[in-house]
Subunit: 446 residues, 2 copies
């Protein structure tokens, strides 16, 4: 179990238990196919990026009810003896097909398919959605920041305002998949091996009272990790103190690596600070900026040529502030070999077990996707691949570095229209004729 | 440890460790005072509600570094021998003063104060903020829903799109503090004793294929928990099938308690369904609605008199969609007996250890707050109360029911201007003369 990522089977909605009860009593335990997809992209997104598969697989591998959990369910009248007996032996023995982490995807495309006995596929719905939704949302937001600030160092600073511990941890992970360089969250470093960044907060300066003394104390303790926060009182004076300190340190092995600005107008401040540093010959001291950043601010600073070498991005990425949820769903597409279709007003789904075929142009740029039945063959690369069969992984986990490299290639293959950060036309993928025919047929026989 | 609420001391930002290193080597281990507050209310909030204190206290009580954690830090070069030795013996032995959970609060008011040796008070910043920020945000959102739908049953349905497991769990808790009746999240029932609700999903109907058969299967298994989801294919036909089923069940002990509508225009649909049910004499069958609800939709349905008895609220509450973060901060206010003030552009703070005094009118309605120095005495009720001294709780945890009752009284005491759901004037609380004088004095001597 990854620390900070709980695996209790009770991370589920109560109705999963009441439905399981009914399924068991009526012998409805045949194979069901559920797919996870996003109905509609937020206006502010032209594409989404898949992430979180690894946590879903770990959850499924670890799925079991301890005797304490079963006791609790029974004692509180939440499960009959029949259900308790079933849960006691329950393991995930189904199949999973999914897009690799880092894959770009669009509305209505299945990102993950679970094929398992109906009660089991039903039980895991809540947590599978909870895990996939969040990381897909964050990777999609982070990818926009990566596109907005090419070549700049990007570090996740968002733990404090992420929605709880797991959100902080998994936001660090999803951002890394999307191309971030690291995180400030120490547990994410331990749990996932993500590079850690961080030096000092304003409280460090305030506790010293004297800014220059604070700087000097810090660099003598951390001669290799010296990014000095210069905006506690006045950013220009902070920069001048860095110059003063550099003079004091002349002849020592200590090198000031950079400064950080966390408030005010970052464009103006970074130019002033750059000028002060350059005038003192401190050309190699980098400027790192943070404070309320999102992709549009990054893009503006980039466009205007602000002399900033890296960014700490916190809240707005870790909560995906402009789109803090995705219209995702996990829907029954097939039961006992029969395709199913929900037709609720505004929430109708494409029925049956599906595949997504992606076509590229001769330069490797994404040209378009086709959603088809899994049983069809179509031109292009099939994006859903088998990852679990009979509850066993078909291959070892590819690892976070592989997911990040895949994400990088995916972003590189985006055409200009999709790289644009502005809200834009949201043409959905194409849908195969066979799939349309199946939907019509189910509507007619409903 | 509450399941799903991890307590690793590495739930912190990397800079806390680098700063601790410097504090220790320069003997800066004297007492620091940090306060948690919200700088500015979101435009869509006229008040906020405190929640999450209990999780903060549990985190502080459990704070310790295991030998595995220390090994990891040392092996990866994240801590010197000096810091490792300090961390090995580290326990939270400080003081905590805080507003009770359920208390309404405003911009700039300290909600929680930690008084502890500087390195310890610094280390806990990230997780204390992470816990308090999230629950305050959710309780504040949920309170608006409670105000929008007085007397209606409100149930949290948000786990699947909450930002991770902990967010789902703690959202259920914070909403309950604010006055919700229960949650669908089973683990929140186990962890916090929150009442559980839930019956069936669309997949249950889809798996059966035949809607009426699905209804009948369900009610025979759950004769006391029979809320039937009627919108999978067509809401009016679903309601007619409920009538049909009720006729079949005549003479049995089985009673259909309610129906749920999860899509379409809930106002129109609920009136149509009510008419169908009433025409069949099923006056006691209640209508429960869900699907994309927030406080403005609740208020509109309430105003228009839609015949809905209860609401399931999911995503928009669990992510606080219109304000998915609060501009909160945890700032050093005093070190070694000396008040401190951050003056960064746009982020200046009120210095020193503070108290909030609340005045009420003769009907118990909230009249206004005064932020003063903790050393001052002022008219009104002091909202920050001692909850921990020397690392020990001053009283047993008041419990969730007490927090919920306190929240209810707080909402009852809100004047009409603050109950209004529309964005409104955000007059901050008053600030005492002594506090203003101290801020001026610190600015002059900076």
């Amino acid at each position: 179990m990854t620390e900070g990522v709980p695996c209790s089977p009770l991370l589920t909605d109560y109705y999963q238990l009441t439905m399981m009860e009914a399924y068991l009593r009526h012998d409805m335990t045949q194979t069901a196919v559920f797919e996870f997809f996003v109905r509609k992209l937020p206006d502010q997104r032209r594409f989404l990026m898949a992430a979180g598969l690894e946590q879903v697989l770990e959850f499924l591998e670890q799925l079991r009810f301890s005797s304490e959990t079963l006791d609790w369910l029974e004692r509180h009248g939440h499960a009959s003896r029949t259900l308790i007996d079933y849960l006691a032996g329950l393991r995930f023995t189904g199949d999973v097909d999914a897009m690799a982490e880092g894959t770009v995807f669009f509305a209505d495309e299945p990102v993950l398919r679970i094929t398992a006995p109906l009660p089991v596929a039903q039980l895991v719905e809540s947590r599978v959605m909870n895990l996939l939704h969040f990381q897909c949302m964050i990777a999609s937001k982070a990818a926009r920041m990566v596109l907005a600030a090419p070549g700049k160092r990007l570090v996740d600073f968002g733990l404090r305002r992420a929605h709880g511990a797991e959100a902080g941890l998994l936001a660090a992970r999803a951002a890394y998949v999307a191309g971030f360089d690291g995180t400030a969250t120490v547990l994410a470093g331990q749990a996932f091996g993500i590079p850690l960044y961080g030096t000092m907060a304003h409280s460090f300066i305030l506790a010293h009272g004297d800014e220059l003394a604070a700087f000097e104390d810090f660099v003598r303790i951390h001669p290799d990790n010296t990014i000095l926060l210069i905006d506690t009182y006045d950013t220009r004076r902070g920069a001048q103190r860095v110059v003063e300190l550099a003079e004091r340190l002349r002849g020592t092995d200590i090198r000031i690596r950079g400064v950080r600005i966390d408030s005010g107008d970052l464009d103006t401040a970074s130019r002033e600070v750059r000028a002060i540093l350059d005038a003192a010959g401190l050309h190699e001291v980098t400027i790192f900026a943070s404070g309320n950043l999102d992709e549009s601010r990054l893009a503006r600073l980039q466009r205007d040529g602000a002399p900033i070498d890296g960014f700490g991005v916190g809240t707005r990425m870790d909560v995906s502030d402009d789109a803090p949820y995705l219209e995702c769903a996990y829907k029954l597409q097939e039961y006992a070999g029969q395709p199913r279709r929900k037709r609720s007003e505004g929430k109708a789904t494409w029925p049956g077990s599906k595949q997504v075929y992606r076509r590229h142009d001769e330069h490797g740029q994404l040209r378009g996707d086709l959603i088809a039945l899994a049983s069809e063959r179509a031109e292009g690369e099939p994006l859903l691949q088998p990852v679990m069969r009979g509850g066993q992984r078909v291959a070892p986990a590819p690892g976070l570095a592989a997911a990040r490299a895949h994400g990088e290639r995916q972003l590189a293959g985006l055409p200009a229209m999709l790289r644009d950060l502005a809200p834009g036309p949201a043409d959905g993928p194409a849908v195969s004729d066979a799939l349309r025919a199946l939907a019509r047929q189910l509507d007619a026989t409903g």
